[in-house]
């Protein structure tokens, strides 16, 4: 259980800046996600915590102690790799015992602790098997047990669920969160999957091009994206680009009202609106009064996905994405004339 701190961390590979001045703190016992597209530097940051990457500048501290010059084997961290990196020549029990046996723990103590870990990850009776005899989900759990057995200060996970299929992934997400709470360890995981980040983490740090773009609770980051990138990377967003005019943002074909503080008159501004915040109606009569932003258009495409329907609406020269729950008797067909409406509080000012 520990606090991890990165200060102005920089790392370049040739001309590519993998980390370009990232400062970030992970509180004791928190479960945080480093979210970003591939090549954003998120994995480099995780590896820097583990000690596998030598920084060009900046500091990393664990529990207030600088660890820049501490080699990986003395950092006392647990790490789970994307491909699990289980030792193929050892049994499951030997894999889990590895961290303890290299520390010279007593045989009996090791056996007892390995048993406890197998129970924690619900793999009792699998100790004598070789990793390749296990399914992906089971290997994942062995990797987790191996990382936790030494009671590390911090648990680092590199795309921990990346190699699992969707179903198993959802199961493991719940399990992972449960185990993290049970053990009470500070955990940091890297992912490019926004849904995984939102579901698992209690704090999400969005990274792009080696820079920290936004940090916050999942709800915050999703509802109030700070930049255009975050709005587009975490879920879908309808973007309205225009200029400030009379307390609104003038865009082609009208002005959008927002509750956010706008820059000075005439300055460029971008508003982002989540697709599920947009309501479709046949005429203005059926709309709530607070949905003051209204755009007339017609449906171009309706994508049926079971519980929800995605509509592509053409309004003037712009296209909107709208998510609706599948509650209507019949989904709206293409070419239906609609009014797309949303409330000012759902139009979020984002930085370019």
């Amino acid at each position: 259980m520990s606090r991890v701190e990165a200060r102005a961390v920089r790392k370049a590979y040739g001309a590519v800046k993998a980390l370009d001045g990232v400062s970030l703190t992970f509180e004791d016992g928190s479960f945080s996600a480093l979210l970003g597209p591939s090549g954003s530097g998120k994995t480099t940051l995780l590896r820097a915590f583990a000690g596998f990457v030598t920084l060009d500048s900046g500091t990393i501290a664990i529990d207030g102690k600088l660890v820049n010059d501490v080699p990986p084997h003395r950092r006392d961290l647990g790490m789970v790799f994307q491909n699990y990196a289980l030792f193929p020549h050892m049994t499951v029990a030997e894999n889990i015992a590895f961290g303890l046996s290299v520390r010279g723990a007593a045989r009996a103590a090791i056996a007892e602790r390995v048993e406890a870990m197998l129970r924690l990850v619900r793999l009792e009776g699998f100790g004598a098997r070789k990793p390749r005899q296990l399914s992906g989900g089971q290997q994942q759990r062995v990797a987790l047990a191996r990382a936790l057995v030494t009671r590390p200060r911090v648990l680092l996970l590199d795309e921990p669920l990346g190699a699992l299929d969707r179903r198993l992934r959802q199961e493991m997400q719940i399990e992972l969160k449960q185990i993290q709470r049970e053990v009470g360890i500070t955990a940091i995981f890297v992912t490019h999957d926004q849904e995984e980040a939102l579901t698992l983490a209690d704090r999400v740090a969005v990274i792009n091009e080696g820079r920290l773009v936004q940090v916050g609770m999942p709800g915050e980051v999703y509802e109030r994206p700070a930049t255009r990138f975050v709005a587009g990377f975490l879920g879908d967003a309808n973007l309205f680009e225009g200029r400030v005019a009379g307390g609104r943002v003038a865009v082609g074909g009208g002005a959008i009202a927002t509750e956010d503080a706008l820059p000075t008159e005439g300055a460029p501004a971008i508003l982002a609106v989540r697709p599920e915040k947009v309501v479709l109606a046949a005429d203005a009569a059926g709309l709530d009064a607070d949905l003051v932003n209204r755009l007339e258009g017609r449906i171009v495409q309706a994508v049926y996905a079971g519980s929800a329907i995605t509509y592509i609406v053409e309004a003037g020269d712009r296209r909107l994405i709208v998510f609706e729950q599948n509650r209507a008797a019949a989904p709206l067909g293409p070419d239906t004339a609609v009014i797309a409406a949303f409330a000012p509080r759902h139009a979020v000012l984002v930085q370019p």
């Binding site: 990986p72 084997h73 950092r75 030792f87 191996r146 990382a147």
Partner: protein, 275 residues
């Protein structure tokens, strides 16, 4: 590899011809080695068939001769030392070269491999002058060092081959779990690359065991190795003892290869690789 039902007559004929050809090539490769074995039981000092009678006199001579026994002892001492040295050095070199971002990897690799590309006579000549200035000429350590230089490339090649596709996250996982670099090597890396190391060691042993040219240049006249003894055995007095020696060496090689292959299979099983 049965023929499919739709094979044309020409394909059927080729199918048979191909098999015959394979057998002929096989015979061509093995005959020179096997021909020696019956000759070693010849009762007379001729290298011709048919043999007038059968006896074990050449074996008797081989085991009774101090020269031959000395040669075996020398060769074994040298080859075992070379195996140990070359395997250690070659494995370390391969490990280092497999690191990401090793500067000048191609250049270093070609220098390490050079001894098996340069004709041995040239290497031997160079070693002769070089070792002369170092005072290593006519010494057993000199031969060991020279053979190590010749044998190490084989270890580098076999271990490098095993290391391609080696999952380096295993190394990171081990050190992340608190293992010191040396522990990581002995408990994670070595068990996994053992098949390559064993093959390399075998090559190293064989390289030294039947090396003649360097020995002719560097060794003192008293230091007789097995190849040297055989060579002079043919050149000076054509004695069929050499056929007995050859037979024993062939058997030894077969035993060695079998042992190594069994060891390799066992370790592959250990490292959890699917057959």
């Amino acid at each position: 590899m049965a023929l499919p039902a739709y094979a044309t007559p020409l394909e059927r004929k080729w199918h048979v011809a191909f098999r015959v050809l394979c057998v002929l090539v096989f015979i061509f490769l093995v005959i020179p080695v096997l021909i020696v074995i019956p000759l070693s039981f010849n009762s007379e000092a001729f290298f011709t068939f048919p043999m007038p009678g059968v006896s074990l006199r050449w074996y008797d001579e081989f085991f009774g001769s101090e020269r031959w026994m000395d040669a075996i002892k020398n060769s074994a001492t040298i080859a075992i030392s070379v195996t140990f040295l070359a395997t250690s050095l070659g494995t370390l070199a391969a490990l280092g070269l497999s690191r990401a971002g090793f500067p000048g990897r191609a250049a270093v690799m070609s220098i390490l491999i050079a001894p098996i590309i340069v004709p041995v006579v040239i290497s031997a000549l160079g070693m002769y002058f070089f070792y002369n200035t170092l005072g290593l000429i006519s010494t057993v350590p000199g031969i060991i060092l020279a053979h190590t230089a010749l044998a190490t490339p084989f270890v580098v090649i076999t271990v490098t081959a095993t290391l391609t596709g080696f999952d380096h996250s295993l190394t990171r996982a081990a050190s992340g779990l608190g293992a010191r670099p040396l522990t990581v090597f002995f408990r994670v890396i070595l068990p996994l690359i053992l098949p390559g190391v064993i093959s390399g060691a075998l090559f190293a042993f064989i390289t030294s065991w039947d090396e003649l040219i360097v020995v002719l240049f560097i060794a003192s006249p008293e230091t007789r190795t097995l190849p040297r003894q055989m060579f002079s055995g043919i050149r000076d007095q054509i004695s069929p003892t050499i056929t007995a020696a050859a037979t024993i060496l062939i058997l030894l090689s077969i035993m060695l290869l079998t042992t190594v292959e069994l060891l390799r299979r066992r370790s592959e099983k250990l490292r959890g690789i699917r057959p």
